[in-house]
């Protein structure tokens, strides 16, 4: 596989008079956070590899406003939302895929009231669609038979009822999927949501991410699979705190698919 990614922007597509099949909404974490950028790149490699026609907004993208809204700042949220909607509608975007459940939830559920109506999918749902259409092949590869537990991101799972797409992809990798004590609709939060990512936690006995990591460690996985850049950070920190980083990897589902094929 070539190590050069092909990441066209909507602006370049417009200049050529083209419309991509899907807009890839990268999100702030996916754009700036070193760990999350790896997830972004893994996703792009897969899209490039199977020739999915996509584009990004690049420098025209801005925070969806999720943390602002959940911190209580409706004004800032709507400023962000309307700015983004203006850009998206300007490009006549129809379908959006994103690797961040927070961006996914906000654009899908909260943009329509402000004039932004798109078909929004999480990257695991998108990959599942590609799989069903026969465009993506996922086979065991290096994770075959490994013990994996999947951490449900709140904003993909409980908030939007998607529990199976990421698990289906993991099953395709022929892993040994084990569930934590709290999973699916009872999934325990990683501690980052509701703008907690950007502040210190209130006083308590322990951090939420440590609590969740303990649940994960209990089932002795080789990999904790995640579907959210913030969950990923929280679980990675939790695994380090438990000094388990040599035994347990924290990977996004899309990284596992890309790694399985050595992309």
């Amino acid at each position: 596989m070539s190590d050069k990614m092909n990441v066209p922007t909507m602006a370049s597509y417009l200049a050529e008079g083209k419309q991509p099949e899907v807009l890839f909404w990268v999100g702030c974490a996916g754009s700036f956070d070193d760990r999350a950028k790896k997830i972004t790149k893994a996703f792009v490699k897969i899209l490039n590899n199977i020739n999915v026609d996509f584009a990004v907004l690049g420098t025209e993208e801005g925070c969806t406003g999720d943390p602002a809204k959940r911190a209580g700042n409706e004004f800032l949220f709507q400023m962000q939302a309307m700015t983004n909607i203006e850009v998206l509608n300007g490009y006549e975007v129809k379908k959006i895929v994103t690797a961040c459940p927070h961006c996914f939830n906000t654009i899908k559920n909260e943009y329509p009231a402000l004039g932004g109506n798109y078909d929004v999918v999480h990257h695991t749902q998108f990959l599942k669609q590609l799989l069903n259409e026969g465009r993506l092949k996922v086979e065991g590869g290096k994770f075959k038979g490994k013990r994996i537990t999947y951490h449900d991101p709140c904003y993909l799972g409980r908030a939007n009822g998607e529990y199976e797409a990421p698990r289906d992809l993991l099953r395709k990798l022929e892993v040994e999927l084990v569930e934590m004590k709290s999973c699916k609709s009872k999934g325990l939060c990683c501690g980052a949501g509701g703008a907690q990512m950007f502040k210190d936690a209130e006083k308590g006995d322990k951090e939420v991410n440590i609590h969740r990591t303990e649940q994960a460690v209990e089932v002795k996985p080789e990999v904790i699979a995640a579907g959210c850049p913030f969950c990923n950070t929280m679980m990675t920190d939790g695994v380090k705190n438990k000094e388990k980083q040599d035994d347990i990897e924290v990977l996004d589902v899309v990284e596992m698919i890309a790694n399985a094929e050595d992309l």
Partner: protein, 447 residues
């Protein structure tokens, strides 16, 4: 003779008084709930009705915790079905008859037999409930917010149930014995009315009692049972037990949208649209209706919440499933979604009492700070675990969000780190201090 009708007259007075008092309490609840802001929950009538049948009547979410769930279903089914018998008791009480539905024959025997078995199962379940609350160390029954009245309230209800079931079975045992001994008014030509699979075991205890004593026993149990029910009906208003009635409307009016969809503040939308409109004249005279007092953003007190949230506060039965699923609570933070609901009800009751006295809603106390602390509000991760856990569609998260909105939009009182993140979003469209122009730099890096 007037005296012959005395029991009936007394009964009608008791029944009428209980119903009047209950109606008065219902109207207080209605008034208090209507203090809330409006919210449209009258759409999708079919969907709402189906959800109510499934979740409230069908108890579909109760069994996610199998032990408590199954015990609850027994008590619930017992409560509903034994109430068919209360109908007969009321008719007998008003008309001075004895077992008016007895003419149903085998059907009646089956009904009374089922009521007895249910009464016994309810008795057993209620005793297990009491043990769970008072003897076994179940974490959700030990929380801070349950200390004092809430714990007593829960136990009083259980004691009530025990007493009612014992009275019901005692009444049946005495009645059965009276029918067997051919006592006038009780004896029935066509044979024994009703079947008594449980209370028959009480016969040895009352064996040898005279007909007069049996009648006194039967009448006493009958009267205490029905008066107990009427007291229980009126205890509801003061208790967490209102859920037996309000669970139905609460589920009906509950949120049907994805849990991740938080409500849009339309007042803000208008303002933001104006700001973003390049043709808008910032110095233009406000149009006619702009004279109104601008809407307060978010909630600092109960009347800033919507009526559904207030209905939920009355509906909450303090089971604590929300709190036991809450990640903040599990890790020792002060936040407890159950306490959010209990505080909302307590404050609403306080406001209601002021209104009863004909006073204005006093502003020296409010929901924020006097009941719910900022520390609780900021501990929430908005994960929706509490909302998903509630068996009757209560949404504590929506109250937390409304109160955060008040803190941030009316008081600019967000934690400092959040203010940093928000000013980053405002200045460079990301919660971290990176330049928006660098947003695509990752694509130029090594893959």
């Amino acid at each position: 003779m007037m005296l012959d009708y005395l029991p009936q007259i007394l009964f009608i007075i008791a029944l009428g008084g209980a119903i009047l008092f209950f109606a008065k309490n219902v109207s207080s609840i209605r008034r208090n709930i209507n203090l809330g802001r409006d919210v449209d929950r009258k759409d999708h009538k079919n969907l709402r009705f189906k959800k109510m049948m499934r979740v409230a009547l069908g108890q579909s979410k109760m069994v996610t915790r199998p032990i408590a769930g199954i015990l609850h279903i027994i008590v619930y089914v017992g409560f509903v079905i034994i109430n068919i018998e209360v109908l007969e008791i009321i008719i007998d009480g008003v008309a001075g008859t004895h077992r008016i539905f007895g003419f149903l024959g085998p059907v009646y025997d089956f009904l009374i037999g089922s009521f007895e078995i249910l009464a016994f199962l309810v008795l057993v379940s209620v005793i297990i409930f009491w043990l769970r609350r008072n003897v076994m160390n179940i974490k959700r029954f030990l929380s801070r917010e349950l200390k004092g009245w809430p714990k007593n309230d829960a136990n009083y209800i259980l004691y009530f149930e025990v007493v009612l079931m014992v009275l019901f079975l005692t009444m049946n045992a005495a009645d059965y014995q009276l029918q067997l001994s051919g006592a006038p008014h009780y004896f029935n030509e066509a044979g024994i009315m009703g079947s008594f699979p449980i209370s028959q075991f009480l016969l040895p205890i009352i064996d040898g009692m005279s007909v007069e004593s049996l009648i006194i026993l039967e009448r006493t149990a009958w009267w205490l049972h029905i008066i107990g029910i009427l007291i229980f009906l009126n205890y509801l208003y003061y208790s967490k037990h209102l859920h037996i009635l309000l669970a139905f409307p609460n589920v009906y009016f509950s949120n049907l949208e994805s849990l991740g969809k938080f409500k849009n503040l339309d007042a803000v939308t208008n303002e933001v649209k104006l700001m973003m409109d390049p043709n808008a004249d910032p110095f233009a005279e406000p149009e006619g209706d702009e004279e109104e007092v601008p809407e307060k953003f978010g909630a600092s007190d109960v009347q800033d919440l919507n009526w559904f949230q207030l209905l939920s506060a009355y509906t909450c039965t303090e089971c604590g499933r929300c709190t036991s699923e809450c990640p903040a609570n599990q890790t020792g933070k002060k936040l407890s979604p159950r306490k959010i609901m209990m505080d909302t009800r307590d404050r609403l009751e306080e406001v209601g009492k002021e209104l009863d006295k004909g006073n204005e809603i006093s502003s020296d106390k409010q929901l924020l700070d006097d009941y719910i602390s900022r520390e609780e509000l900021w501990a929430c991760t908005t994960c929706n675990a509490c909302v998903d856990a509630c068996p009757i569609g209560i949404d504590p998260l929506s109250i937390i969000m409304d109160m955060r909105q008040y803190l941030v939009m009316e008081q600019s009182a967000a934690p400092a780190e959040l203010n940093n993140a928000m000013s980053n979003i405002e200045n460079n469209a990301a919660p971290w201090p990176y330049n928006q122009q660098d947003r695509l730099d990752w694509a130029k890096e090594e893959a």
